[in-house]
Amino acid sequence: MSAEAATAGEVQTIVAARLLADARSCFIGVGRPSTAAILARAIVNPELVLVYESGTIGAKPYKIPLSIGDGELAATADFVVPVVEMFNYWIQPGRIDVAFLGAAQVDRQGSLNSTVIGDYDAPKTRLPGAGGAPEIATGCDRVMVVAPHSKRTFVERLDFLTTRAAPEAVITDLGVLEPDPRDGELTLTRLHPGVTVEAAREATGWALRVAEDLRHTDPPTEDELSALRELVAR
């Protein structure tokens, strides 16, 4: 077992990838969600159809792309569509199973802010904005959020509600949050190896609910970890 050797970020990526085992298609942005989805094709779901908002459907990147429009994505895609068609014919009708989203802020219901920190008209930090996220979140049946676990990210109240989402899982570098079936509040259901409930509570900006049957995620296997490291090194 090389789980000890895995960083928290690596565990997060691998746990996110595992959640794509049954998905037919996954909508992804850049960064960790992208790495996780590409990894999923290598370790749990070789048939997974990767969809980028640039219009590439069924991309098979060998390297992790820097942008969602790198040349390799178009070159390896099953087909490429204009942006208007992507949103109207593919996302809005719910043809893509899973959305993997990131965000600067996540609230306890799983809604997301990627627009602004501080006041909209006099922002402390202007973030990139909505991009495709709002319609991707409502269009895809299953939404998963991949975000770093910190009080800056998991906030009591969003500075701006960019994306109304009800994610079935939020994968952090500490564990996994899932909605409480009673009221939808994000609840700690799994901890990554070596992480304590206290650490997760400390890193959450609201009083974090913990599931009664809290489990630990399975540590990354040798194969998972080497697949991830090989992918990142390309």
Binding site: V30, G31, E53, S54, G55, T56, P65, L66, S67, I68, G69, D70, G71, L73, A74, A75, V80, V81, P82, V83, V84, M86, F87, N88, I91, Q92, T115, Y120, P123, K124, T125, R126, L127, P128, G129, A130, G131, G132, A133, P134, E135, T138, G139, F160, L161, T162, T163, R164
Partner: protein, 272 residues
């Protein structure tokens, strides 16, 4: 038929102070050469429209060309913030910039409505977000089902600028790879300028090729590597290292200004 002209002349003729300008290209085929020419010619008070502002609009904003920005995602993809974009919005440097932001789905449908010369487009979106209170969106009721849908106003820029792989001598243009919203941008605008990597005798139809006929384009200008640091599928590579380097170059106002002086203002070529 589109005239094939020098880029400098095309920009001088087609882009005026105060215009609403849409430079499109979704990660791919971003018209950097043309944008730099706009900067060199000192255009001011532009309304800059673009789904993904990217480095090019960071440069235009930092050089004080715009009074207004219409967009849906203002980041350096895979890298982080656009520092000049942030500085313009957060601190009004070098000039205050009014913003109107949408989601990608909203912007795409605004272009599609513009290309169809319809006054608005409809989609399922905006509802329940804070964006509703900070942008130009209304709602319409489906006369058949009663469902309420978001309505977004058509985009009708004064001028659209896009980059493509090639044109023939009559100004018919072909692009391939990620097509983005370039066709819609051209068809929604009053005037259109297309820069191309090369002129060919005859457009050879390509898989994924999108042809824009010369008779909906005002000017075509040759600008080899005119999308750099973005790219033209099959012809040039995206310069990912430059996208990363921009984070440092653009972070500080003076560094940025110096870089622009050296690489854009003093340049006469087409690439930065």
């Amino acid at each position: 038929m589109a005239e094939i002209v020098e880029l400098r002349d095309a920009v001088a003729e087609l882009v005026h102070d105060g215009d609403a300008v849409a430079m499109e290209g979704f990660t791919h085929l971003i018209p950097f050469a043309a944008g730099h020419e706009v900067i060199r010619q000192g255009r001011r008070e532009l309304e800059l429209i673009r789904m993904t502002p990217d480095l090019l609009y960071d440069q235009l904003l930092g050089m004080g060309c715009a009074r207004r920005l219409v967009f849906s995602y203002g980041g350096n993809p895979g890298v982080g913030s656009l520092h000049r974009f942030r500085d313009a919005i957060e601190h009004g440097w070098p000039v205050p910039v009014e913003i109107e932001e949408h989601s990608h789905a909203g912007m795409a449908n605004r272009y599609a409505a513009g290309a169809a010369h319809l006054p608005f487009g409809i989609l399922r979106g905006y509802t329940g977000t804070d964006l509703v209170n900070h942008t130009n969106v209304k709602f319409v009721t489906c006369p058949f089902t009663g469902e309420e849908l978001a309505a977004v106003p058509a985009l009708r820029p004064d001028v659209a600028i896009v980059h493509a792989q090639e044109a023939d001598r009559r100004g018919n243009v072909q692009l391939w790879g990620i097509p983005g919203v370039q066709k819609e941008a051209v068809l929604s605008a009053e005037r259109a300028l297309v820069t191309v990597e090369r002129i060919v005798d005859e457009l050879e139809p390509r898989p994924g090729g999108i042809v824009i006929p010369g008779w909906v384009i005002d000017a075509v200008a040759v600008a080899p590597r005119g999308a750099s640091p973005s790219y033209a599928h099959d012809l040039t590579e995206r310069d990912n290292d430059f996208y990363k380097a921009w984070d440092t170059i653009s972070r500080d106002r003076e560094d940025f200004t110096r870089w622009m002086d050296e690489h854009v203002l003093d340049a006469t070529g087409v690439t930065a």
